[in-house]
């Protein structure tokens, strides 16, 4: 019953092209970072799709992005340069890290597109100035979208946009929560397809499908044993090959802290009279990306909470090669898990990962946790 999410993931481009045909004059916006306020896009009847890589070795980005920029930002730009996103009407980014911003600006320069927008998302979210700052930036952005589409975004449309996003987040979170069960009714691989496809598909449709599945999900029995309950932590991650490998050697991912996973949908917009402020607050209060998690580091408690709530036995911490913001947090995350007697395994990811070598590490990691068997 979960196959549809993988189908959407595998055929993301066909889906978006089909959506455009179905929605006469419908615009598709490619976005590079999950701090992009999709509420405003939905309010303008625009389909937001997240630009992701394809996990294939490529040779087109070298002239545009430094070699020591992360493999993910290079992979994203490669998709554009290869014309796979040729249906996009616009692209946008919210300021998060320099690497993905380089992919965005390079896209602006080298791939003709009629609309592009850089949203200056503040970094110091803990400053009292962040909230009015972002609210005003959202107002400027909303105006830009109105000018582009030629249509005013009314308060009512904004409410609709908020409701589409909130409902989707709520149902997706309920889907995730079924994984707290002793025998989770979905694998980590299925959960990855579920959450990542959510960033590609019209939320109305995605929510509707989830609601149908959610009714049957708690009773679903997987014909596999759960094994060791794992959490996976890192930046963006749609490396399905890795997840599949880990789940083939006696483990199940039960929760994640990824911006392709929980960080994307974990909290909702709290309705308020000032809609733009309500939206701004939602992005400021969401589980933080490490680029925005200071002066105080709030991620650690949040990750600990997730690990407890989902009864996690071990955590795999991944780092996209050269991703400095995430690397900075890794010692603190490892320390927290160590203090709570939850073993961790650190792995460095690239566009493709060496599955054979990683398999040895993962199996050894699982052997250590189940070690009564061996020693």
């Amino acid at each position: 019953m979960m196959e549809i999410f993988q189908e959407w993931y595998d055929h993301r481009h066909e889906y978006a092209k089909h959506w455009k045909k179905k929605n006469k004059n419908g615009k598709v916006m490619g976005y590079f970072c999950t701090y992009v306020p999709e509420e405003i896009l939905y309010a303008a009847d625009i389909l937001p799709v997240r630009i992701l890589g394809s996990h294939e070795p490529q040779d087109v980005t070298e002239p545009h992005i430094f070699g020591m920029y992360c493999p993910f930002c290079r992979d994203c730009l490669a998709q554009g340069l290869k014309g796979r996103y040729d249906y996009l009407d616009g692209i946008m980014i919210s300021q998060s890290c320099l690497h993905i911003r380089q992919a965005f600006t390079s896209w602006q320069i080298h791939i003709p597109i009629s609309y592009s927008y850089y949203l200056p998302m503040p970094h110091n979210l803990q400053s009292k100035h962040a909230r009015p700052y972002l609210r005003n930036e959202l107002a400027v952005f909303k105006k830009s979208i109105e000018d582009w589409t030629g249509q005013k975004i009314t308060e009512q449309k904004l409410d609709e946009g908020i409701e589409v996003m909130n409902k989707n987040r709520r149902v997706l979170k309920q889907m995730y929560e079924t994984r707290k069960a002793e025998q989770p009714p979905m694998t980590g691989l299925e959960a990855m397809y579920l959450a990542v496809s959510d960033q590609m598909i019209d939320k109305n449709e995605h929510t509707q499908v989830m609601e149908t599945i959610l009714k049957k999900l708690p009773g679903r029995k997987l014909e596999r044993s759960t094994g060791t309950r794992l959490m996976i932590i890192g930046s963006e991650d749609d490396d399905t090959a890795f997840i599949k490998m880990v789940e083939s050697v006696g483990a199940t991912f039960v929760v994640d802290d990824h911006c392709t996973g929980t960080r994307y949908f974990w909290n909702e917009v709290k309705p308020a009279q000032d809609r733009l402020q309500a939206i701004a607050d939602r992005y400021i209060d969401r589980p933080a990306c490490p680029t925005k998690d200071w002066m105080n580091r709030t991620r650690i408690n949040h990750i600990f909470r997730l690990a407890k709530d989902y009864n996690v036995q071990g955590a795999i911490i991944i780092q996209q090669k050269f991703c400095d913001p995430h690397e900075l947090d890794i010692p603190a995350i490892q320390q927290m898990f160590k203090e709570n007697n939850i073993p961790t395994l650190f792995l460095e990811f690239d566009v493709t990962v060496p599955i054979g070598q990683f398999k040895t590490r993962v199996e050894a990691f699982l052997e250590i946790m189940q070690e009564e068997d061996l020693f």
Binding site: P354, T360, E363, A364, E367, I368, E371, L374, F375
Partner: protein, 260 residues
């Protein structure tokens, strides 16, 4: 008396060990892994059996390990080389140890507590600098027989240092050293020194350090250099290259009852 076998199908060589339930090694054999892993595993298993004076039917349980561990259909268990090296090294040194295993394509640093449990482990990333493959490459570039390197390095009297990353850049650096007239003995010692430094930068070495694997088995100067650089006594088990295979065989002994 029951008998057990461990087969370590590694990236460079495949090793088999046959033991009895008193944990005595009765046979062992090492071959190059080559391109046909099941064949290499079979050959080395048969040879180890022959040395032990046993037939396949005498073997109670077989465990495989190493990167090619799924290439021996007759095995009852497959276990990662991390756990097997730990079990094998702990057999000789039952106390808190740090195991440094240098293999054909992997370096491992494994921290083990006083009960033989793994505290944590690290392996090299994608890069093969400082592994057996690195040494093979340098021997090839310098046109020296692999088997001569240990002896040559021992004749060196100069502390020549090379960078520790990247096999390809090391080869270029060595060309520079040759051009300015450095002696091959000193260069080879420098190569081994870079292997030891690569290990040191991977992870802190705590407690007694035990080295295993084929590279140190054939080039024990690496243990000497690692000791020199860390000011620690480096311990070597009797046959460092077969420690993984031995560990695999030791791990399955307690499972003998289950099979009956």
């Amino acid at each position: 008396m029951r008998y057990f076998a461990g087969i370590d199908i590694g990236a460079s060589t495949t090793k088999s060990v046959v033991i009895n339930e008193s944990k005595e090694i009765l046979g062992r054999h090492v071959v190059k892994s080559g391109a046909d892993l099941p064949a290499a595993a079979q050959v080395t298993y048969q040879q180890a059996l022959r040395e032990a004076g046993l037939q396949p039917r005498d073997i109670h349980l077989i465990a495989t390990t190493g990167f090619g561990r799924h290439n021996f259909p007759g095995a009852q268990r497959t276990i990662t080389e991390i756990s097997c090296h730990t079990r094998g090294a702990f057999h000789y040194f039952p106390r808190p140890i740090t195991i440094v295993d240098i293999g054909g394509q992997d370096n491992k640093v494994i921290h083990v507590d006083g009960t033989g449990r793994i505290i944590n482990f690290k392996m090299n990333r994608k890069c093969a600098a400082g592994t057996g493959t690195f040494i093979e490459e340098i021997a090839y570039k310098m046109d020296l027989p692999l088997g001569e390197l240990n002896r040559l390095a021992k004749e060196s009297v100069k502390d020549l240092r090379l960078g520790i990353y990247c096999t390809v850049f090391r080869a270029t650096e060595i060309l520079t050293k040759i051009r300015i007239g450095e002696k091959k003995e000193d260069i080879v010692r420098g190569v081994f020194c870079s292997v030891a430094q690569r290990i040191i930068e991977m992870d802190p070495l705590e407690g007694d350090v035990v080295m295993t694997g084929g590279v140190v088995a054939h080039n024990e100067i690496i243990a000497e250099l690692l000791g020199l650089l860390t000011n620690k006594k480096i311990l070597l088990p009797p046959e460092p290259q077969i420690i993984g295979a031995l560990g695999a065989a030791l791990i399955v002994i307690p499972y003998a009852e289950e099979k009956v």
